[in-house]
């Protein structure tokens, strides 16, 4: 495969990656959000594979494989198995801000990410020039998505998207430190186990995973 084609395919995976972030922001159903997360993880792995090919890096190949196993299979399987009812529900996820407004904010965040990383990207290899602004945009939009979602599971999915975004930039930036990227991918599984256990306990004890209804801890509430 020609190297220019590899760069082109990586740019395509980056564009699709950013699109999944926007679709996630617009998505109002938990099952659809999870499937977007899986697709995003596959795009993250695709980018790692392309870079592994271009740079002849065994480390990146390993990162790609572990990302697919952990994020496209194990984490979604654990979430569906433990919190299946939440995914089958056709009820719409409650958002603090309307979808059109959120999309406008996401466009603004993407522009900020582009202008912040532009001076860096000009002096860096092509993979970084593509992955850094897209990863940074994904990071900002995912933080926003987390802030406007009012239920536990969609909040956690935003956190997983945030993780993907950081690693989308990360695989291009730190190509030589695969050891800890592997540790971090495995750690994602630990995070999921802990959040699943916590969500189940919240659901059992309080009868809802609607975190906006968990509002006992405010100064005016503790009187």
């Amino acid at each position: 495969m020609q190297i220019s084609l590899v760069y082109g395919l990586n740019a395509l995976s980056a564009a699709l990656f950013l699109m999944t972030v926007f679709l996630f922001l617009a998505s109002r159903q938990t099952a659809a959000s999870l499937s977007l997360f899986v697709r995003q993880a596959l795009l993250l792995s695709a980018s790692a594979l392309l870079q592994a090919y271009a740079l002849h890096s065994l480390d990146l190949l390993l990162v790609a494989v572990i990302t697919i196993v952990a994020k496209a299979f194990i984490i979604p399987w654990m979430l569906r198995r433990s919190l299946g009812a939440s995914f089958q529900s056709r009820r719409e996820v409650e958002l603090a801000v309307s979808v059109p407004t959120s999309l406008m904010i996401a466009i603004g965040a993407s522009l900020v990410a582009y202008f912040v990383s532009q001076p860096l990207a000009e002096r860096m290899p092509s993979f970084v020039a593509v992955n850094l602004p897209v990863g940074l945009a994904g990071l900002l939009i995912s933080v926003y998505a987390l802030a406007v979602r009012r239920e536990a599971l969609p909040q956690f999915l935003s956190l997983l998207m945030l993780d993907n975004a950081a690693f989308f930039a990360g695989i291009a930036i730190a190509t030589t430190s695969a050891l800890w990227e592997i540790v971090a991918a495995l750690e994602g599984i630990v995070v999921t186990i802990i959040v699943v256990l916590l969500t189940r306990t919240i659901s059992e004890r309080i009868g809802t995973t609607h975190v906006s209804r968990l509002s006992g801890l405010r100064e005016e509430g503790s009187r």
């Binding site: 536990a152 950081a166 930039a169 630990v190 916590l198 004890r205 968990l214 009187r223």
Partner: protein, 479 residues
């Protein structure tokens, strides 16, 4: 020896899983903490003499900054283990499985705390910081109340979010390192040694990501919202560890990178720190005036103190010594305060300030301990915090930050009024007629008495070893 430090609580965690009487878990936790304290003291001695200890090159080691933090962590691990002995037995109400589970979680949490300052690779340190959150989530929700679960949820989501933002900053630094020194080991030392040759644009972005990311877990304003919840809902010995040392452990990562930030040309790193620090002190000071829960009051005081420390670091080299000293004095005083608050909770069974009256009459020991702890965290002489805060003011004035020092002093004064007003209402006056005195467990009394000692002693005398570690650590931070 240093390699054993995180292994000791790990072994105690495994012992806690044995389905025997909880006393095994209690003894294992206390013995492991005492052994860890011995290792921490040995490390401090070695570092004091030779500057660093490196048992596993490029993997595990300690310099003065690490040794200082390890010492604080180990002291608090001992007092928390002792306090937990009687406190958790009463909280668990005879549920032996629950008590053993507590010690398992507590020891794992202490293991993760010990890992942060001894790992020599920033990426692995990041993993350890993430572990401190993951391994303490179930300690925060130990009581399984609605409020406890809410606090645990906010704690997990916000601090993991912060760590994920910070990871990109760390990755950028590693990329810059490989750019200027290909094949160099990815250690803290390599980063600080090559920072001057790195791209300033890249360092600026990394700084913002690391400050915002780890700042979330340090409890800096405006990302502090999870802290009063988590630090008030956990059992008191856990609160002591969270407020006394966990936030400082995360702050350590920002401090460790100060020599990297210091070389960024035309970038006001110190002004950023002062701005975040002052905002945190100011916000916490005003929130302290309207708080109704005495454990939340102590948690807001942690936000205030983290702000003071970050402002001090922003003052430069002289501020670094004072700021690091404040990390030690605050950690000791805040653990004492949470132990005293736990004793009040055992007696009154409420965290509501309005429901606690006449504490000095109901339980003179708890009342006196809470009053002493409040005076200590408010920075009244002769307690240690007074000395460190005074040093911060002095360093700020010497560095030419007169107006900042004035504003800082004003916020600290407001916080002082807030804390003393609330505590004054609790300890003085007539006790409610229906309130009966409940005998405190001996371990609770012992841990409080033990914690009071260094808070008093360090206000009057700085041991030469501590002074040496502070000097070396402040040089490492302000290089």
């Amino acid at each position: 020896m240093l390699v054993l430090l995180p292994l000791l609580p790990l072994v105690a965690a495994l012992v806690s899983l044995i389905p025997a009487k909880p006393v095994f878990a209690r003894v294992a936790t206390l013995v492991a903490a005492l052994a860890a304290l011995a290792i921490a003291l040995w490390t401090a001695q070695q570092v004091g003499m030779s500057g660093n200890v490196t048992p596993l090159r490029q993997w595990i080691g300690a310099d003065a900054l690490s040794a200082l933090l390890i010492l604080l962590q180990a002291v608090l691990a001992v007092t928390a283990a002792l306090y937990s002995w009687g406190y958790i037995a009463r909280e668990a109400e005879g549920d032996e499985t629950r008590e053993r589970r507590y010690y398992f979680d507590l020891n794992l949490f202490v293991t993760s705390l010990f890992l942060v300052p001894i790992l020599l690779q920033p990426a692995l340190t990041w993993v350890a910081v993430e572990l401190t959150t993951l391994l303490s989530v179930f300690l925060v929700s130990f009581n399984r109340t609605a409020e406890g679960l809410e606090a645990a949820w906010k704690y997990a989501i916000l601090t993991i979010m912060g760590a994920t933002v910070a990871v990109l900053g760390i990755l950028l630094l590693l990329h810059a390192l490989q750019g200027v020194s290909p094949g160099a080991p990815e250690t803290w030392a390599s980063l600080t040694g090559t920072a001057a040759r790195m791209s300033p644009d890249l360092l600026r972005l990394a700084f913002v990501l690391v400050l915002v990311g780890f700042g979330t877990k340090v409890g800096l304003f405006p990302l502090h919202t999870w802290l009063p919840d988590a630090h008030s809902q956990a059992p008191s010995p856990v609160c002591a560890l969270l407020s006394g040392v966990e936030v400082s452990t995360v702050l350590y990562v920002i401090l460790r990178l100060m020599p990297v930030w210091n070389v960024i040309p035309h970038f006001p790193v110190h002004d950023w720190l002062i701005a975040f620090g002052l905002m945190s002190v100011g916000a916490a000071a005003f929130l302290l005036l309207q708080v109704h829960d005495f454990k939340r009051m102590l948690a807001y005081s942690t936000v205030e103190h983290m702000g003071i420390i970050v402002t001090a670091i922003g003052f430069g080299q002289a501020g670094s010594y004072a700021g690091l000293y404040q990390i030690v004095t605050h950690g000791l005083a805040k653990s004492l305060a949470f132990y005293a608050a736990g004793a009040v909770l055992l007696i009154y069974r409420t965290r509501n300030i309005a429901d606690v009256r006449g504490l000095l009459r109901t339980s003179p020991f708890s009342g006196a301990a809470l009053l002493a702890a409040a005076l200590a965290i408010a920075g009244v002489p002769p307690f240690a915090v007074f000395l460190s805060e005074f040093s911060i003011f002095r360093s700020g004035l010497l560095a030419g930050y007169g107006w900042i020092v004035a504003l800082l002093a004003l916020f600290i004064a407001i916080a002082f009024i807030g804390v003393m007003l609330q505590v004054g209402r609790m300890v003085f006056g007539e006790a409610p007629a229906e309130q009966t005195h409940r005998r405190l467990p001996a371990s609770v009394v012992g841990a409080i008495s033990l914690s009071l000692l260094p808070v008093l002693v360090l206000g009057l005398y700085t041991p030469p070893l501590l002074h040496r570690l502070l000097t070396l650590a402040s040089l490492a931070v302000s290089r």
